[in-house]
Amino acid sequence: MSMEAAKLTYEVKNHSMVVHLPKELDHHNSQNLKQETEQIMDETYINQIIFDFSNTNFMDSSGIGALLGRYKRMSAVGGKVVVYGVNERVKRLLNLSGIYKIVKQYETKEQAMKG
């Protein structure tokens, strides 16, 4: 099992923060997300959070909670949350949760960056 795939990694470009999500987005793997994104936002002005699901093949409602939490955070500064790299399984869950009403989906990181 790759440790790389289990960690959350981040990228900042302009005022966008890309969050590279792990293979399995559950409570355990998303516990540090809030703290780590806050740390980055303490140092840089961020008005867009882009979630990269391209390595993610499992997700439960904890993942929805993480998206919602970051959405509220971004809303407070007039920013937004978007996603890309979503596979069929993840798409089904995101659909079920209704989160597509507030979070837009793109095919690639480049498209997500452009908004």
Partner: protein, 152 residues
């Protein structure tokens, strides 16, 4: 396959006891997934069950034991094509089960919880039952009948 051999090969019951720790959420999913392969499920059916197990175990870790130490007991049984799961904790219990199961309700509004755990369990399993007693613990029962494409 020989009918007698087929019968004995179908695992009927298993019980797993795990510590209430978040890294065991994945472990529980994998164990139940492997157990249910005897039913020859589709990938989607397995993913559905894994998600439901993940929700139930996470509830025990976060709510039942409030992140503290405890034991979570997972039982699984197969009867013909039906998988029955029981996820039990001896934690604080649920004061109002009906309210807890309302979509989007969360007892932790400040945290990063979606309140969709039970909704997902209900979406992915055929039956969800919750038994709970304050100060004694909670049991979540999940049932799903697995269809398959193989010829009988």
């Amino acid at each position: 396959m020989d009918k007698e051999l087929e019968k004995t090969m179908k695992a009927e019951y298993m019980k797993l006891e795990i510590e209430s720790k978040s890294h065991n959420e994945e472990f529980a999913r994998v164990v139940v997934a492997v157990f249910m392969t005897r039913l020859d499920p589709t990938i989607e059916e397995m993913e559905d069950v894994k998600t439901a197990v993940s929700e139930a175990v996470t509830n025990a870790v976060i709510h039942g034991y409030q992140g503290k130490e405890g034991t979570i007991e997972i039982e699984a049984s197969i009867c013909e094509k039906t998988l029955t799961l029981s996820i039990r904790d001896q934690g604080i219990g649920i004061p109002d089960i009906k309210k807890a199961m309302e979509p989007l309700y969360t007892s932790m509004p400040g945290g990063e919880r979606s309140g969709m755990g039970f909704s997902f369990m209900e979406a992915f399993m055929d039956q969800v039952e919750v038994i709970s007693k304050i100060g004694e613990g909670t049991t979540i029962l999940l049932k799903k009948t697995i269809g398959n494409d193989s010829l009988e």
